[in-house]
Symmetry: C2
Subunit: 109 residues, 2 copies
DNA sequence: CCGATCCATAACGATATGGTTATGGGATGC
DNA sequence: GCATCCCATAACCATATCGTTATGGATCGG
């Protein structure tokens, strides 16, 4: 099992709409440079750059530098702490995730 | 009362550790009065009261008044927007939640 | 070599957030 | 009736968050 970022960094990263938009774009369109992300965002480049730092520390985004370009990609595993927390939340979800886990284990070993 | 609160209210409610602790306690121990929650929390009663307001607006907690006591209980359905958002995030989780959806449809119609 | 481009960081201001104490209203007990 | 308990809200303060502009380092094109 992979080591997860501190859950608090993840929870703190999610409320900002600009950050969620960045996550959604990266998940839909794959790797994007900071420049492209800035063009699509409604804020300045320094703002995007800082948001990316927050997302990287939360484990949701990974950077790959290539020359003067920085390519960013989504890191789905970073969502794991969310699943962990939700699984604690109550019988409703715990039961369903427990069964899901069993199903997944049977289906793809 | 809306079926689901705005997703942003949910995302905004989660980062605070005191609020998450309240959610965890309610999910583990069932209904609790504000007074009990305050005793277990590390902050004052007004703080707890305001946190409960945030959680209620996020759809995570529901109140039931009985005399001078206010009983609070967890509302697992409030987590649905979180699932919705994660299902957009990437192939990894989308695939798993697709299976979850199918499983749930078979399990409880 | 030189200007332009991509990006990160610093510095700063406006607003949001989370805590406190103070106040008050409604329910309960004596 | 009156004090007490439970809770919500108001008022206020400290800090965090999120935006901006300014600056600079690194890289590429010509």
């Amino acid at each position: 099992m992979p080591v997860h970022a501190a859950p608090n960094a993840l929870f703190t990263a999610l409320p900002d709409p600009t950050r969620r938009a960045i996550c959604e774009r990266l998940s839909r369109h794959g790797e994007q440079t900071v420049h492209i992300l800035t063009d699509r965002a409604s804020v300045s480049l320094p703002a995007v750059s800082k948001h990316l730092g927050v997302l990287r520390r939360a484990g949701l985004v990974r950077n790959r530098r290539e020359g003067r370009h920085t390519h960013c990609r989504a890191e789905p595993d970073g969502l794991a702490p969310l699943i962990d927390w939700m699984s604690l939340y109550g019988a409703f979800w715990r039961e369903r995730f427990g069964r899901l886990e069993a199903l997944l284990n049977r289906m793809d070993p």
